[in-house]
């Protein structure tokens, strides 16, 4: 059982709630058949509940809880609702209603998820069914608090491709680390945390020397540009705690710019507000002003603007660049990785992007465990923040502005975000490489890239055109930035956008037709006789299949 081929379950991961009016074969079926299971996944319990769907009202169903997921199947004949939620996305579980609660469906559980939705279940008041469900969910959604392993360590999935081989980690992070070198002008992007200047303007000789060395490696320009991701005022304030920014007198030949990007707390609050305006109901007539009140897109704009500045400085300003914020693993990672995406087309391929994430984020110490809180029950932890999500959103904005420049599609970005929380893969676990090594993550867990790379076609953008030397500057204007509806509002069946996209579909048809024609032409050339009269390859069939090709011209 455990060694059975597993990829057939892949498509089940985190699919949307699907409503189908057609009733299937029957209601009573074997549990083993009803419940998709990954190798290593074990069933814990099941309960009859009422799922309070915010869009279609209460639906009676059976919920199955395993050590990996919560799975709900509708018991009503006219609804084929299925809910498949990895426990890793659960941020918080609350009981609603008490013993004295009156009213229909007022007694049950309210589950807050990290992926922009809430799930509500009503349960029977008698028989401790709510207590059981609460305890089991808490136990498996927050395994760290119960000395249980995270599911990634139990997952026995096997893939044809080993995602861990994608990137060969360099054992260096946190201090001035070379991120990227321009192939022609040899300027570099580097990153670090804030310099140690301090209140009295004391200086750190080692820091200064380090920057000097970087500057000297670039012979063309005797100048170094330092981008401090923070707003100017914050950097000044940090001097009080021993940090600060590079002052002109201490760092010669270095220019300093502030990029005005806010900290993780501001971002967290901003995303909360986004959820407020999109879930469960979308603000209808005051959409733009409520969107503005979240500030989410303004933050996206500032991050993109910062990255453009870094990229522009490197590619045309011919100056090496050092990027830092207060710590060097949040805003810095966003800026350097986005700048690299703009400058280097390699990172816009599927594999390149995986390496970028692996290098700039995972290896260089973005604290995924703290920012996401894998398996941790402390939902209000101030260390949590959607920094990586914000980066992926920026990538999506770029791919929206340049729809032919990225090898991957939107689905690729969404599956990365889904498994950022799911705990099915080891990829995003832990805060740093040393912790990962201690836990032997690469040996004991499966990489997300294994899943993606063994099924690459699903994540490919058909419009992708490889342009090796193309520098990509998005327009960081609010006039072009949009809320990523297919991610943030995907649970709402009324907003769901057409899948597949009709233009894409049309293009795929054309590509298929082209391939067919090329094949047929080759066959004709091979046959070497121009007057074939096989009816199946009759010349009129293509025009019937694609009448528009003729009508258009």
């Amino acid at each position: 059982m455990a060694s059975a081929p597993t990829s057939k379950y892949n498509s089940h991961s985190l699919e949307n709630e699907s409503f189908k009016r057609t009733s299937r074969d029957g209601v009573n079926r074997e549990i083993g058949e009803a419940l998709p299971r990954l190798p290593g996944e074990t069933r814990i319990t099941d309960k009859e509940v009422i799922y309070i769907c915010p869009f279609n009202g209460p639906i009676k169903g059976r919920v199955y809880i395993t050590n990996y997921r919560l799975y709900l199947r509708s018991l009503e004949t006219d609804s084929a609702l299925i809910l498949d939620v990895p426990l890793g996305v659960i941020s918080r579980i609350e009981k609603m209603g008490g013993a004295t609660s009156r009213g229909e469906n007022s007694y049950g559980l309210d589950i807050t998820c990290k992926d922009m939705r809430n799930l509500r279940f009503a349960l029977k008041q008698e028989g401790h069914s709510r207590r059981d469900m609460f305890e089991i969910l808490t136990r498996y959604a927050f395994p760290l608090a119960h000395s249980l392993p995270i599911f990634a360590f139990l997952n026995e999935e096997k893939f044809d491709v080993d995602g861990w081989m994608v990137y060969n980690p360099v054992e260096e992070y946190r201090r001035q680390v070379l991120s990227w070198i321009h192939p022609e002008n040899k300027t570099v992007i580097m990153r670090c945390s804030q310099p140690l200047v301090g209140m009295s303007g004391k200086r750190n000789k080692d820091d200064e020397k380090y920057l000097d060395v970087i500057r000297e490696t670039n012979r063309q320009v005797n100048k170094l540009t330092i981008y401090d991701a923070r707003p100017n005022v914050n950097a000044v304030a940090n001097k009080a705690t021993g940090g600060g920014y590079e002052s002109d007198d201490a760092y010669h030949n270095a220019e300093l710019f502030f990029l005005d990007i806010h900290n993780i707390h501001v971002m967290r609050e901003s995303l909360k507000k986004v959820k407020d305006i999109v879930y469960p109901n979308v603000e209808e007539s005051h959409w733009l002003s409520s969107l503005e009140s979240t500030h989410w897109l303004e933050h996206i704009k500032l991050v993109l603007t910062g990255a453009i500045q870094v990229a522009d400085r490197v590619s045309s300003g011919k100056s090496s660049v050092v990027v830092h914020c207060s710590d060097g693993w949040d805003r810095t990672a966003q800026l350097t990785s986005l700048a690299m995406l703009m400058l280097d087309s390699y990172y816009r391929s599927i594999e390149g992007f995986e390496i970028l994430v692996q290098k700039e984020w995972i290896s260089f110490g973005h604290k995924f465990a703290s920012r996401i809180g894998h398996g941790d029950k402390n939902h209000a932890d101030a260390d949590r923040s959607p920094i990586f999500l914000q980066f992926v959103d920026c990538v999506w904005q770029m791919s929206k502005q340049f729809p032919t420049a990225f090898e991957f599609n939107e689905r690729f970005l969404i599956i990365i975000l889904d498994h950022l929380y799911s705990c099915r893969f080891g990829t995003f676990l832990y805060n740093c490489e040393s912790a990962r090594e201690k836990q032997k993550v690469t040996e004991r867990t499966v990489s997300l890239w294994s899943l993606i790379n063994s099924n690459k076609d699903k994540f490919k953008n058909p419009f992708y055109t490889k342009e090796i030397n193309r520098v990509l500057y998005p327009v960081a204007s609010m006039r072009h930035l949009e809320l990523w509806v297919n991610y943030y509002i995907r649970w709402n069946p009324r907003i769901k956008q057409q899948q597949p996209n009709p233009v894409e579909q049309r293009y795929m048809e054309l590509l298929a037709l082209r391939d067919e024609y090329i094949k047929r032409l080759e066959e004709l050339q091979l046959a070497n006789s121009p007057k074939l009269s096989d009816p199946s390859t009759s010349p009129s069939s293509p025009s019937q299949m694609m009448p528009h090709v003729q009508t258009h011209f």
């Binding site: 502030f258 501001v266 340049f402 009324r494 004709l524």
Partner: protein
């Protein structure tokens, strides 16, 4: 003499708080002195066009790569346009300008296209109107197609400045007589030019025959009749000469209130039809009121009687939008795009959503689309007829009824069908284009962009359902621009009556033969065939014809009869017209009619939701009913029209244009392969594919293609210049560190 302008002199720094800041200092202006050669720049005049005044050594300021550049040249004003004749024509030789308008050049502004004129005095920007005491050093012209021109007059002779500035102000802002429209001088002068037959481009609806065809096409001819009671506009000048009414309506009823209160047929579908009706004049006299009431009762009885289904009345004057709202919204909204320079663009960028929304233009679009869906629900799901009521039945009636038709009738999504629709509902339907566009500058109050609102609503549909329309967004954009080109008669009259009387069709002296005016639908007047390919949507697939035996060519005549709207998306089986008539009758008699008429609004809302959700849950049928998505995030800004002249807003090599050009490329390739295969089979001559489109010519197109003439030549990014802003209530959060790090230990 050109290019020798004395560049120098300090920029005034005295003004403490300039309301307008010129971001370019004279010394920053790079004049093109190399090209001082005596290049003759010719002014192209249309037939009948006359030069009125001109000024030389005018500097046109252009933005490039966020720095400003000046081009010297001549600024002229004719009775048709304002034109700048720069000596830097080299910029015109790039690929993007192949989408050139043959009538309006890049530096031409028709007099009707001028929206607002500003002058800069000592770095202060002021609106210019009337007689000026002082003449500005810089002229800024905001156009109705959202272009913004800056002309620096600092090096122009004083008397020339006076002449050109007052000339421009006078000819664009002073009230005009209809007879003085350039339209007439053009038509008189161009009498010999043979205009193509308008019938090739659209059904014009100026003959009885056209209405009969339309009735036949929509299978409405059983219950409705075309009448010629208004021939020669004897009954009413507001109504067209021919129109359609319910068959049992006595023709002598039409003149009783000058056509008011008469239900005029717009369109039929299998389950219902839409009428529009203008309200009866408001009367105080009880006696007259009673007569009016009896008259209306009679009308309602006529159309309620079988075979007519129940009628739902939709009063667009009282509980829908007001024209005032539309006017205010648009005048706020357009300001967001009339941007003077890069600094202004970025300064307004971070707070852009707020003014965009407070203009409520997008919300008005949403309400119009929603109203159309509500009416479709009545027609489609409840088998009701709908009567649209409005004071003159010529503004919101046109808007709503044509939106309904675009959504329900796939014929209206072809170019021919759409043009016929605009003819039927707007031009012949009596929308007062002359007043609504304020072409004569007689009353600003009357200027309401109702037609533009319609185009914006259609754009939302085009944008949301790319394969559903035969035309492109570029088509809609150039159509919106054509509102201001006074060589076409289409948008320069308030009614067919006004057009006919002024064209000399009747009541004219014997010495002049009727003028032959151009119709805007003849796109070859404005665009070369190659440029016209951009008006055609490559994603559009013609409706597959089920019966191959009866397959006809795509001649226009046939198209008229071709498409009764199919409603595959409807759950109930398709109904015949007469078979179930009895069924209906019984239902009506049994009181369904009463129950429907007393529908509470809440119930209607539920019906609406259910109908809409059920449509949304199925994949769209591009040849059937097509509804818009109207949730907040789905209503977008028509970027091509509104942002096209703003260089900062361009995405080079991006946007939908990028995917479309890939698609076209592949289409061509498939076409070539297909030909090759066919050649191999029968060595017959392959069809010569027309050189596909401009989309292929240049490597990296702007997202605002084919507009965006102010292209950026380098690949330098546009860097926002605005920065950090206070977050208000989150100030304390913002000041915190990401997390506490004890730096002392590091």
């Amino acid at each position: 003499m050109l290019g020798k302008g004395v560049v120098g002199g300090g920029g005034g720094t005295k003004a403490p708080k300039p309301s307008f800041v010129s971001y370019v200092r004279p010394e920053e202006i790079h004049t093109n002195e190399k090209e001082v050669t005596e290049k003759e720049v010719t002014l192209h005049l249309l037939p009948g066009e006359q030069l009125l005044c001109e000024a030389s050594t005018v500097l046109k300021c252009v933005q490039e790569d966020s720095c400003q550049r000046g081009i010297y040249g001549r600024l002229v004003c004719t009775d048709f346009k304002i034109a700048f004749l720069g000596d830097d024509e080299s910029a015109l030789d790039n690929d993007e300008t192949q989408f050139k308008n043959k009538v309006i050049g890049e530096n031409d502004i028709t007099l009707h296209c001028v929206d607002q004129i500003y002058g800069v005095f000592d770095e202060k920007k002021k609106t210019l109107f009337g007689q000026l005491k002082k003449y500005p050093e810089k002229l800024i012209i905001h156009c109705k197609d959202l272009r913004v021109f800056h002309f620096c007059l600092r090096y122009t002779k004083e008397e020339e400045v006076k002449r050109i500035v007052s000339g421009i102000i006078h000819h664009t802002q002073a009230p005009k007589l209809l007879k003085r429209l350039f339209l007439f001088s053009y038509a008189t002068a161009a009498q010999n030019h043979t205009a193509t037959d308008p019938k090739n481009h659209a059904v014009m609806f100026d003959t009885l025959q056209d209405w009969c065809w339309e009735l036949e096409r929509t299978k409405g001819n059983m219950k409705y009749k075309a009448v010629s009671v208004n021939e020669g506009y004897k009954v009413c000048e507001r109504l067209p000469a021919y129109f359609v009414v319910p068959t049992p309506l006595p023709e002598e009823d039409v003149p009783r209130f000058h056509g008011h209160g008469i239900p005029i047929w717009c369109w039929s579908c299998h389950s219902g039809c839409a009428f529009k009706m203008s309200a009866l004049p408001k009367e105080q006299d009880d006696g007259v009121l009673q007569i009016q009431k009896n008259f209306l009762d009679g009308i309602y009885k006529t159309i309620h009687r079988p075979p007519y289904e129940i009628v739902k009345t939709e009063d667009l004057s009282s509980n829908f939008l007001s024209l005032q709202e539309i006017q205010t919204a648009y005048s706020k909204f357009k300001q967001l795009f009339l941007i003077d320079n890069s600094t202004e663009f970025w300064d307004t960028d971070i707070k852009w959503f707020f003014p965009a929304e407070s203009s409520s233009w997008l919300d008005i679009i949403r309400r119009c689309l929603k109203k159309a869906i509500e009416i479709i629900e009545c027609l489609e799901a409840q088998n009701m007829n709908v009567l649209l009521l409005e004071e003159n039945a010529s503004d919101l009636c046109c808007l709503v009824s044509s939106l309904v038709q675009v959504m329900m009738d796939p014929h209206c999504r072809t170019r021919f069908g759409f043009q016929s629709l605009v003819q039927k509902e707007w031009i012949v339907g009596g929308h007062c284009f002359l007043d609504r566009c304020n072409h004569l500058r007689q009353s600003d109050k009357e200027e309401v962009p109702v037609f533009l609102l319609f185009l914006d609503c259609v754009w939302q549909l085009v944008h949301q359902h790319p394969p559903a329309f035969e035309f492109t967004e570029t088509y809609l954009t150039v159509l919106s621009d054509s509102l201001y080109i006074p060589i076409f008669s289409t948008f320069f009259f308030n009614s067919p009556h006004q057009k006919d009387t002024n064209m000399g069709r009747e009541g004219q002296g014997a010495q002049s033969k009727p003028l032959n005016l151009l119709t805007v639908w003849d796109w070859s007047v404005q665009f070369e065939p190659k440029a016209q390919t951009l008006l055609k949507n490559p994603l559009y697939v013609e409706k597959p014809k089920l019966d191959k035996g009866q397959r006809k060519g795509t001649h226009f005549k046939h198209q008229r009869q071709l498409s009764l709207p199919l409603t595959q998306s409807k759950s109930s089986p398709k109904r015949g017209f007469f078979r179930e008539e009895t069924d209906h009758l019984i239902k009506n008699l049994l009181g369904k009619r009463i129950s429907k008429l007393i529908n509470s609004s809440e119930e209607l809302q539920d019906n609406f939701r259910e109908f809409y959700d059920s449509w949304r849950s199925k994949p769209p049928n591009y040849h059937g009913l097509l509804l818009p998505h109207i949730e907040g995030p789905e209503i977008k800004v028509w970027a091509q029209r509104y942002l096209r002249w703003i260089p900062e807003a361009q995405i080079l090599g991006g946007g939908r244009v990028a995917t479309l050009s890939k698609l076209l490329e592949t289409m061509e390739e498939v076409q070539r392969l297909q030909e090759k295969i066919e050649e191999r089979h029968h060595s017959q001559e392959a069809l010569q594919a027309e050189a596909a489109s401009l989309l292929r010519t240049s490597a990296r197109l702007s997202s605002l293609f084919p507009f965006a003439l102010l292209q950026r030549h380098s690949s330098k990014p546009v860097l926002p210049t605005s920065g950090w802003k206070a977050l208000g209530d989150e100030e304390d959060l913002a000041k915190r560190e990401d997390e506490f790090v004890d730096l002392g230990d590091v």
